[in-house]
């Protein structure tokens, strides 16, 4: 079989990301995804056009949004004849959506597609608690009015408390931050190192804005023209004043290192990326920023397997490197999603650790270190924010454009996800 063609990253559009309960407090997932799509349609002249597929998703989703992407496409300026499907792989959703489209393009099943992701923690679905749900279901099953009244008569105030979705692992009952605090302690990631990475993320993102890097990657929305989590004047000194908010279970509280500054905030936003075959792009005179070379996913047993919740990319990357005959140093740029500053640092530490690489990865030698000057050069989630499913669709075009502006090169994307999962990919230009 001839080796399949590589999908091209043509361009992208996202809306600025907004801190939770702020600028987008009244926007739904569907509103934001539609806005992101419409900006993409405008940038590439796709009004009334049918692309091969639109694949997107959200992590926090109302049950009425079971067909979120399709509804957004119908509300958008794309042709209503455009097929869609939803995916959901926690924080890996956006990247996984891009991989799915890239694979279909590679196989010639579609010529073009849009991958995306959206999340709102402001307009989150609120569930009724389990007691109330049982009462309501019983009332619904009742055949007579008297039966309904009887079922509802059993209600007690405590049953009406809503269940707001939390960033909590069902398997352990611990929050993602608490999990990560354990990993940070395990890898002895210092507070300073985390704050340095965070300050750099803000400074790099601010510089990218000033250079107009996002002028063709973003469209303003509801009055926002920039990610409003961005603090251009962020510094290690300022970050150093924040109190820790996540504590490693059982450890001394004084050793806590993770603050609201070096952790990503809850964020609302949407992102989309346009992928296509080279032929499709050429027919329309559109640029090819980069190609999708390969992707890999991994999962870790963070419940019983003695591995950190967000460490799956540490496993996925070496598998992908091996398949492609590459070393960790064979990249010009690295985009490692900053769920927490310590996540990035723990992942890098693992790859540098002979013990981890031997015992966990079965490698004779460690993957080694990377040139930190090539990491998240235009900022990442600590500065931009992290609307879970949107992040992958933010990172793919960011890296693709960096490679394109560099006049070529290879880049690595690594995204950790809830549930102990990870999605990683290689782009080349």
């Amino acid at each position: 079989m001839a080796s399949p063609r590589r999908a091209a990253v043509v361009g992208a559009n996202r809306i600025p990301f907004a801190r939770s309960n702020g600028a987008y407090a009244r926007a739904s997932n569907s509103d934001m995804l539609t806005a992101a799509l419409d900006g993409l349609v405008a940038r590439f002249g796709l009004a009334d056009e049918r692309v091969g597929e639109v694949v997107a998703g959200a992590v926090l989703k109302h049950s009425r949004d079971f067909n979120l992407t399709r509804e957004a496409v119908l509300a958008s300026r794309l042709s209503p004849w455009t097929p869609t499907y939803d995916v959901q792989q926690a924080c890996g959703t956006g990247l996984e959506a891009a991989v799915l489209i890239a694979n279909k393009i590679a196989l010639g099943q579609v010529e073009s597609g849009i991958a995306g992701g959206v999340d709102t923690t402001s307009d989150a679905p609120i569930a009724v608690n389990e007691d109330l749900r049982e009462v309501l279901l019983a009332a619904n099953r009742a055949k007579s009015t008297a039966g309904v009244v009887k079922a509802l008569a059993g209600l007690r105030p405590g049953q009406i408390v809503p269940e707001i979705p939390a960033n909590r692992e069902p398997g352990t009952g611990m929050s993602m931050g608490e999990h990560t605090a354990i990993t940070a302690a395990h890898w002895a990631i210092s507070r300073t190192a985390q704050d340095e990475l965070t300050a750099l993320s803000h400074q790099n993102l601010a510089k990218a804005y000033d250079a107009g890097f996002f002028d063709d990657l973003m469209t303003p929305y509801l009055g926002l023209t920039k990610d409003n989590n961005l603090r251009a004047d962020s510094s290690v000194e300022k970050l150093g004043k924040l109190k820790p908010v996540f504590f490693p279970a059982g450890a001394d509280k004084a050793e806590a290192t993770m603050t609201a500054g070096n952790s990503t905030p809850l964020t609302d936003g949407a992102a989309t990326v346009l992928l296509a075959s080279d032929e499709w792009a050429a027919e329309r005179g559109l640029p090819v920023l980069a190609h999708v070379v390969d992707a890999e996913t991994a999962a870790v047993d963070y419940v019983h397997g003695d591995e950190g919740l967000l460490m799956a990319p540490a496993y996925a990357v070496p598998r992908m490197l091996e398949r492609n005959g590459l070393t960790l140093q064979d990249f010009d740029f690295y985009e490692i999603h900053e769920a927490f500053a310590s996540t990035v640092l723990a992942t890098l530490a693992a790859w540098e650790s002979p013990q981890f690489c031997k015992e966990r990865l079965g490698l004779d030698a460690p993957l080694g270190s990377i040139d930190r000057g090539k990491l998240n050069v235009h900022g990442s989630s600590l500065a931009a924010g992290h609307p879970f499913a949107a992040t992958g669709a933010r990172i793919v075009p960011t890296l693709a454009k960096i490679l394109h502006e560099n006049g070529g090169g290879r880049g690595l994307i690594s995204i950790c996800a809830a549930g102990g999962q990870g999605v990683v990919a290689i782009l080349e230009a």
């Binding site: 806005a35 419409d38 900006g39 349609v41 405008a42 940038r43 590439f44 002249g45 009004a47 009334d48 300026r77 107009g212 996002f214 002028d215 063709d216 973003m218 469209t219 303003p220 929305y221 023209t225 329309r284 005179g285 559109l286």
Partner: protein, 460 residues
Amino acid sequence: MSHDWYSDFVNSGIGKTIAGNLGLPPVPVLRRWEPGQPLLSGAALLGTATANGRVAKVVRAVLSDAGVEVHEDPQAPIGGGSSTSKVAAAVVDATGLSSPSDLAAIQGFLTPVMRRVGSSGRILVIGDVPAEADRPAVRAARRALEGLVRSAAKEARYGATVNLVHVADGAENDLESTLRFFLSSRSAFVDGQRLDVGTVPGYAGSSAGTDWDRPIAGKVAVVTGAARGIGRTVATTLARDGATVVCVDVPSAGDALARTANDVGGTALQLDITGEGAGEAILSHAQRHGGIDIVVHNAGITRDKLLANQDTDRWNSVIDVNLNSQLAINDILIGSPDDTGFHRGGRIVTVSSMAGIAGNRGQTSYAASKAGVIGLVDATAPLLAPKDATINAVAPGFIETAMTAAMPVGTREAGRRLSSLTQGGLPVDVAETIAYFAQGASYAVNGQVLRVDGQNLLGA
């Protein structure tokens, strides 16, 4: 946009009676263009001032091609009506004048015409270029037409307009797009104006085969400041006329810009036109469309301050956006390759302003920039001729937009009423004029500045 309640009132049944009793000025409802509309809604009268006229033949051909019934006698009974029944237009071939005494023939023709031209009617006088005449008597006669036309425009009622076209020696066959523009409802708000055809030498082009419902079909147009206001309407109008439109505006206006681009089926380019490399960015974006045929420099800002209170930063921001950006982008366009850049036969249209002609209190920077635009057009026109390209400007008067809605009531009402058409123009009026300049068929129209102001009394 602030609503013109006065116009609504005087056009309502009771309002008409009251306004009539009080002697309030009537506000005619102007006929505006839509695809498929015939060139004229009725017959036309065609007068000739002398036996040496050069353009009557061409006018007749254009009118009959457009299916218009033409009569030469200004008192001809038309369509079974009387010698005073309404006509849609009157055209005077006023070329070939040898002395001011020849003007009487024009007066003789136009006097009965003034009462015959119906609402939104058109009177178009076509004369020779005064500067092409050396003899004082000839030049005086040619120049006299301007005074006649500007005064007749002030006299005409019910939305009828009177305009003057100068046709250079040898350009009589290059008039079609201009005739069609001035006669049609596309020129609804152009009144009492003069335009020269064929005055920049070395032009080339043809109007043969033009689809007059979609005169720029297949062309690629770039419109700056397309997120809102006049620019948005220019984008819509050029798309209606057949162009693919690249819509440009600052990144912070990107959401409105995306709406424009999607509404016109074009593309959005978020770009500050004052930034370094703006011209290159426009060219590079347009690669996807195979290059550029039409550029409309519409983006503009006001930072009004009395000169006594002016500061240099505000001053510079106006000059940069309204003038320097255009100069820089034009340089890039002119230097670009014919095939993949700014195409041979391209069109540049820029937006000046009545303020740039008449001046306006508190608008020194704005008026300087808009007057500068006229100088830019004058000097660029001959540079474009070797590319068979043209550059022209529109100078809008009072146009109903968010900008004018923000004016104090008194200024706004004066802006509306102090014009021969007694109302503000609409963005589409500016857009139609731009679309006319943008036509391939307007190849002989170069270096012109046309006011779209309903013959505003300011700077008239």
